[in-house]
Each structure stands twice: as structure tokens, then as C-alpha cells.
């Protein structure tokens, strides 16, 4: 039976959605601004739309998981994000959870 491409795309996006927060937190162990963060994610195979990434960064900051500051770089002011201490703890906890899920799925798959 052939694979329904629309259904596959919808399920693929649903599968990836939950992992994006973890990817963003992991990437922000190093300080970055939005554009370079998106490039870093894309380089590791995790393409993310700007209209998703930027609001996500603000939400994570409002939840106390990221710190940010405006700084000038390349003659332009940019907003740099990095994990806060709370973000570091959250990343560690979510990584454990992710590995647990991964191990369980590996057994099933």
C-alpha cells in the first residue's frame, strides 16, 4: 500500500514538534542570536521556520529557561540568547526523558 504523503507530512511534523524545544535548549548551551541559532539547527538537520523559532525563544525566556541581551555585532544590534541556570537543569531533565523514550522506542522498533 502506498504511503499517503499528506498524512506522512502531518505525522512527521507532529513527531518533530515536541523535540524542537529540546534541540533549541541544547543549541543554546552556547550563546547565539536567532539567525545563527537557526543556521546551527539547520546544519544538524533540524530546519525550523523563523516564525516558529523567534516566538519560541521569547516563550522560553519568559519561562525563565533562557537569558537574553541586546548587543552590537557586525554593526547591528542583535539579541543574544543563552541557557539560564533554570534552563540548564531543564535541559538535563528533558535529555534524560528523551533518552528514556528513545531507548523504549528502540526496543519496540
Amino acid at each position: 500500500m502506498s504511503l499517503d504523503p499528506d498524512l506522512y507530512e502531518s505525522m512527521r511534523l507532529e513527531l518533530r514538534r515536541g523535540s524542537l524545544v529540546l534541540a533549541v535548549l541544547a543549541c543554546l548551551r552556547t550563546e547565539r542570536y536567532g539567525y545563527t541559532l537557526r543556521q546551527a539547527l539547520a546544519a544538524d538537520g533540524l530546519e525550523m521556520e523563523e516564525s516558529t523559532l523567534y516566538p519560541l525563544l521569547r516563550r522560553l525566556e519568559s519561562q525563565g529557561l533562557l537569558n537574553s541581551e541586546w548587543r552590537e555585532e557586525e554593526k547591528r544590534k542583535k539579541r543574544f540568547y543563552v541557557l539560564s541556570p533554570g534552563g540548564v537543569s531543564m535541559l538535563a531533565a528533558l535529555t534524560d526523558e528523551w533518552r528514556g523514550i528513545n531507548a523504549s522506542l528502540d526496543k519496540l522498533l
Binding site: Y33, Y35, E50, Y54, R58, W70, R76
Partner: protein, 367 residues
């Protein structure tokens, strides 16, 4: 103003004032970074079309701004949608029944334009239905926006679920076949305790429709006109209804509030009984004020008018016994309707007094 400014202005207009400057500054940096990266790739400056293509990739200003919104993304979210759908279906079924009944009454009342009556009924049903859907959506949106989750959403009990089994119109239709299996689907089990919320839900929806009609949102075509010997006669309200407009609306809202509270906590017997005593007291006062006005409606046919009104003298059995003896002309019809109205008000007062007594007893016994 260049293209980036126009784009960012459109985004900014959708954002909260306190975050506007911060978010647009960050978006500006993103857009410029994307332009620079593309220029580096092409080895030349971008044309306007190329810049616009990048802005389109970033997203429509409404969509981009919406992602920054902190509240819910939809008027009725997935958690509330099943309740919204059930409420709308139940309300539409009640409306369909009301309009079908209105149409039926007009037809058996000797309507001389059946086609127009059907058209009015459909027009009224669709208007009222759309109003109902709008009101339900507004209520759900307020629930979503304020994060309200009533107890009946989260602390429901299996024994309260009886009415939800009646939501399938197919089961109602099947019951019409008369087979035992179909009746078993439709008829409530004799040993099962009826869902107490059903009564309150019906009362809430019925009073809600009355409120919508009372404030002029809902129209029942033909409600205030009658046929007298083939001629149209119009029923118009007496000044007492304008005087009591606010109190009657308040009374209806109070009734709806009690129904809603009863839906949320169907087993809070004492609190509900106490509230009903207050509401019934208000109803008694309204009934008294209407009765004391002595003039309730005016019947008009052409140049002829007749008052529908009455007083204590009409509250005797002899007057009731002569109910069918009134003439068939306009004053005769008005006289008959006056007697009917006097007795309707009297029975309403008696039923409200009974409600007060019953609820005082419930407050005392707690059941």
C-alpha cells in the same frame, strides 16, 4: 518607507504595545541577516522581487504576529470543542422544535399563506441558529481566553452522563420505528437515575432564547400577529412591558445564573433552593406588578383596537366558565384573551408561591 518598514509596520500593528519595539527590532535583524546571506550567495544586491520573496518565506505579518500572542490560538480549542459541539447541537434541536411548533400553530390557526409561513420559519430558524452558534462561540472564546474550566468539565461523574446519550438524532429516529431494540436505545432505563442537569440545561437554553427574543436579537416571525376572520390583527404590548423591561431581563438572567450554577453543581441542593427562593420572590413581585397594571396588550385590526387587561373581579369561577361565550369580533376576542391572561398570571403566582414553599422545605431537608 522601504519594504522592510512596511512589513514590520504591518507586524507591529498586531502586537501588544509593550513588546512591539523589542519584537520588531529582532525581526528587523532577522530580515537583514537573511538579505545579507542571499546577497553573499548571489554576489550582488537583491532586487525588490527577491527581497519580497524572502519576506514571504518569513511569513504573512498576521501569521508572524499571531505566533507571538500569549493567549489561545483558537476561539474554541480542542478541549472545549466537544462541549461546544454538544451545546450547539442541543440548542439547534430545541430551536428546530420551537420553530416547527410555531409553524404548526400558524398552519392549524388557518394560515392563508402556507408558503410564506414556511419561509418565515426557515428564515427565523437560520437567524436564531446563527445567533446561537455565535453566542456559544463567544462563550467558548471567553472560557479559552480567561482559562476558565468549570467543574463539570473536569470533575464530571459517570452518573451525570445520561443526557449525553440522547445527542444522537439517529437514536431518536430509530425509536419511532417502535421496535423493542430501538426503544431500548431511546427510552431511559427505569432503574437509572435521571441526569439532573438535563432539566437545568433545557431551562437555561429556553430562558436564554427568551432573553435573546426580549432584547430583540431573536425574532419569531408571526408571534405578535393573529388571524381574525381572515384579516391580520396585531398584538402590541402595553406600557407596563417597557416599564418592566429591565426587571424582567434581570429576572431571566437570575434564572439562567441559577440554571448554570445547577449545571455545574447539580447536587448542591441547599444553595440552589436558596437561590430559587430569591428568584421566585422576584417572579412574584413581577407577576404582581404586571397584574396591577391592568392593561397588558392591545389588539389592533385596521382602525379598530381592543385592550387585553383585567383585574381581581375576573378571578372567579363564573368568569372562567363563560370563557368560550365571548364574541368572535375584536372586543370579544380581547375579552376572552383578558380572562386567559388573568388566570395565567394567577397560576403563575400560585406556582411561584409553591416554588418558594418547596425550596424552603429543600433548604431545611437538604434534598
Amino acid at each position: 518607507m522601504d519594504m522592510i518598514d512596511r512589513y514590520l509596520n504591518a507586524v507591529a500593528a498586531q502586537l501588544p504595545q509593550d513588546e512591539r519595539a523589542d519584537i520588531t527590532a529582532e525581526l528587523r535583524d532577522l530580515i537583514l541577516s537573511r538579505f545579507e546571506a542571499k546577497e553573499e550567495e548571489l554576489g550582488r544586491a537583491l532586487t525588490e522581487d527577491e527581497q519580497e520573496a524572502i519576506l514571504r518565506e518569513i511569513g504573512h505579518p498576521l501569521v508572524v504576529a499571531a505566533r507571538y500572542r500569549k493567549g489561545p490560538d483558537s476561539l474554541v480549542g480542542p478541549e472545549l470543542f466537544p462541549y461546544w459541539l454538544f451545546g450547539v447541537k442541543a440548542g439547534l434541536m430545541v430551536l428546530a422544535a420551537v420553530f416547527a411548533l410555531t409553524l404548526f400553530i400558524r398552519v392549524i390557526g388557518g394560515s392563508d399563506n402556507f408558503g410564506q409561513d414556511i419561509a418565515h420559519a426557515f428564515h427565523g430558524f437560520f437567524g436564531a441558529g446563527l445567533t446561537l452558534i455565535g453566542a456559544a462561540t463567544l462563550a467558548a472564546a471567553i472560557f479559552e481566553h480567561q482559562g476558565i474550566r468549570p467543574a463539570w468539565l473536569t470533575k464530571w461523574r459517570v452518573k451525570d452522563l445520561g443526557a449525553f446519550g440522547l445527542a444522537d438524532p439517529a437514536a431518536w429516529g430509530a425509536s419511532m420505528t417502535g421496535t423493542e431494540a430501538a426503544k431500548a436505545t431511546w427510552m431511559p432505563r427505569s432503574r437509572a437515575k435521571p441526569w439532573p442537569g438535563g432539566e437545568y440545561l433545557f431551562s437555561f437554553l429556553a430562558t436564554g432564547m427568551f432573553v435573546l427574543w426580549w432584547i430583540g436579537v431573536l425574532h419569531f416571525p408571526g408571534l405578535m400577529s393573529i388571524q381574525l376572520r381572515g384579516e391580520d390583527a396585531v398584538v402590541s404590548g402595553a406600557p407596563i412591558w417597557s416599564i418592566l423591561f429591565g426587571p424582567i431581563l434581570l429576572y431571566a438572567f437570575a434564572q439562567m445564573a441559577v440554571d448554570l450554577a445547577s449545571l455545574v453543581r447539580p447536587y448542591a441542593v441547599r444553595a440552589r433552593a436558596a437561590a430559587r427562593i430569591v428568584v421566585a420572590g422576584g417572579g412574584l413581585w413581577l407577576t404582581w406588578a404586571i397584574f396591577e397594571a391592568g392593561h397588558w396588550f392591545t389588539l389592533t385590526r385596521g382602525d379598530e383596537t381592543a385592550r387585553i387587561g383585567g383585574d381581581w373581579s375576573m378571578l372567579d369561577i363564573d368568569t372562567l366558565g363563560r370563557l368560550g361565550d365571548g364574541g368572535r369580533d375584536l372586543p370579544g376576542i380581547a375579552s376572552t384573551l383578558s380572562v386567559v391572561m388573568v388566570w395565567v398570571l394567577a397560576f403563575s403566582a400560585i406556582s411561584l408561591v409553591c416554588s418558594v414553599i418547596l425550596n424552603i422545605w429543600r433548604v431545611g431537608r437538604g434534598r
